[in-house]
Symmetry: C2
Subunit: 399 residues, 2 copies
């Protein structure tokens, strides 16, 4: 049991311990680990030799630490648990705790490449029906490979960053026009952060997933549907996505999710060898989307057709190398029911079925001033629950 | 006139002065500038206070220097010309020249985001006819915006890097199969390197192009057509491209290309305001593609429908920020004639019309052991010619 006040029953207890990078008192951003309502300043802890990580905790991004690999990640985590439980360490460690109310989180790692998948069968099916009515909802390739594309790494921002409504071209019956997007949407996703890199030409088999992936963030892949619909053929989404992608400030290490693995949906038809898994595993993460404070959806991550291990195997099967800090996101998480969709496009069925928020306002897509908060919980050990770091953003008017 | 032996008549004379990062004698890679058959070691030059750039030339990548902006770029270039022309500097500078035969170029800058456009009307038309026979060659959006997508920045490699044939899924009448790509192709392109960044939310109007773009590289965007054809719907190319993209080791500064600007093709229908240019300008670069030593194509860059200034304006019109080191490529450069195509897909019309190389061998797509060299020339001041750094690569068998 931790000696930190109030942390024992918190979704940020010893079973969780997510990492982040925080500003406090005008310091250069420092690496910290969350415990209850506090952040343990790991820069100070490593400087005081309370934890040893080769200097990798004395940085303003997690990349060096994430590059160390699983044995080191485990050792540091075990040491942090010691520091936060053994009374002998309390005098040295307690002064290094900062209340979370006094900090501001910044982007926790330098993003290498950002890849976005499209791995929810329900989402792909819904989008297919909305965009291509009357045709087969899933394209012929969808069940054979995890469809994905590269997004813009340079516009990945930390939770809390305001989102300026993007402008761009959209199609009208009179031809394309330019202006602020009129169909601004969210995509609630789960992101996987690469720690251990590979060399060009190497592949990561599904069984090696946990040797490379450091942890998990929540992602909101903001999407301007009108811009996207006009631009995306034949090379895929571009400006409809590239204006901003928000990630949670806390990175949940994979170790904290060991109790959250559940069997993934069966795949039919069978997949090619390189996508096979001895044991198909998904994560039992329960997402929630709040729109101006109204809970509008509960996307269940365990319904995803393609698993994170399959996504990583696919991403590297052509020999593409990984860098520490690469981020790949699941794609919009949508369950089989309307109240389980990870986008407003699906929630309002292309805008045809508006939703009413708690304050009585009616919405189809995002309006200026709207705020979206995506949260998620996961089962921890022994019946405990952990709460992934939230990802939130408010829409500002177009400039 | 430069005092450097043989440089006066070279395509790497004073009118060119491309920058690169080189290895020599086991040193940590250093920044240099090419003059004739030599490289001037700019690390040593800045250390000796022969040139002043705030320490930005004492790095192993060009990024810090590229971030300084055009006034500084001009000042450094003018100073380098002084050093290489005035006899008074010769005693100090001559010892800092290294023969190009003794160096190895490395990747000249850390890539931020890599965007690939699709801006040749002839290329888009050819691909449309080959992939979608019987349908309109250009999609409805093509003449309204420069179509583009994000590629994988982490697999951009320097010219000379061997290319391992990628494996992946391709479609067959019996369903998808996995194996080495059987339609490995090139794309001859011109890349633009961003020096001066922008903040999230800012746009770069077409008139501000030269305030942000530092220079030009040649690009070979290796493409596995069979993988691409199966995967690309609906989110665009992914593994068919992400295994490798080669760039020239020399970066030609925009200043060196002042005599190469020519009027760009007229656009019909007229474009939206943010894509308008007071004076539409393209670059008169003459590319050449050699396949195992046989010149097979001469793609003319001045035929591109969308200009580099339009591409940058489009890329940022939604507020997407730029980072120093961002690279955006033109898309395959193809002229109106068969001998002017920038891809083998077009050159052999989807593989239907093989080409015979000088050694008598017959080819459709790349075979293991094949080498492709892309070069380009541009007009310089006073009738001089400059040669962009070549981009070369050899295909190794799949692992």
């Amino acid at each position: 049991v931790t000696w930190v006040q109030g942390a024992a029953d918190s979704p940020y207890g010893l079973h969780h311990l997510p990492y982040g990078v925080f500003r406090h008192r005008g310091w250069v951003p420092r690496i910290g680990v969350r415990i209850g309502d506090f952040v343990l300043d790991l820069e100070a802890a490593e400087r005081a030799d309370l934890v040893l990580a080769g200097g990798s905790l004395r940085r303003s991004v997690l990349n060096d630490f994430m590059g160390l690999g699983r044995p080191q990640w485990r050792a540091v985590r075990a040491r942090i648990v010691e520091l936060l439980t053994e009374q002998v360490h309390r005098p040295a460690v307690e002064p290094l705790l900062v209340p979370v109310t006094e900090i501001e989180l910044v982007l926790p790692f330098a993003i290498g490449d950002y890849v976005d998948f499209y791995s929810s069968e329900h989402h792909a099916g819904n989008v297919g029906q909305i965009f291509r009515p009357g045709q087969s909802a899933l394209l012929p390739n969808w069940k054979h490979l995890p469809i994905g594309y590269h997004g813009r790494a340079g516009t990945v921002v930390v939770s809390g960053t305001d989102i300026v409504r993007p402008s761009g071209q959209r199609s009208t019956p009179d031809g394309p026009v330019f202006g602020p997007s009129v169909r601004l949407d969210i995509e609630a996703e789960v992101g996987f952060v690469v720690g251990v890199p590979t060399r060009l030409g190497d592949r990561v088999p599904t069984a090696h997933f946990a040797d490379h992936v450091f942890g998990v963030v929540l992602v909101n892949d903001w999407s301007a549907r009108d811009i996207q619909a006009w631009e995306y053929q034949p090379l895929g989404p571009f400006l409809g996505k590239s204006f901003a992608t928000s990630v949670s400030g806390w990175v949940t290490p994979l170790e904290a999710l060991e109790a959250a693995w559940v069997p993934a949906p069966e795949q039919d038809p069978p997949v090619l060898d390189y996508l096979r898994e001895e044991q198909r595993r998904g994560l039992h993460l329960e997402l929630a989307v709040a729109w101006n404070g109204t809970l509008v959806s509960r996307p269940p991550f365990d319904t995803m057709y393609w698993t994170p291990a399959q996504q990583l195997a696919h991403l590297t099967v052509n020999g593409a190398s990984l860098r520490t800090g690469d981020l790949y996101a699941s794609g919009t998480v949508s369950g089989p029911e309307r109240g389980q969709t990870g986008s407003l496009l699906e929630l309002t069925w292309g805008g045809a079925e508006p939703v009413t928020l708690a304050d009585g306002t009616v919405r189809t897509f995002l309006e200026d001033g709207d705020t979206v908060v995506i949260t998620a919980t996961a089962p921890g050990p022994g019946g405990a629950t952990l709460a992934l770091g939230e990802v939130t953003g408010r829409v500002l008017p177009a400039r």
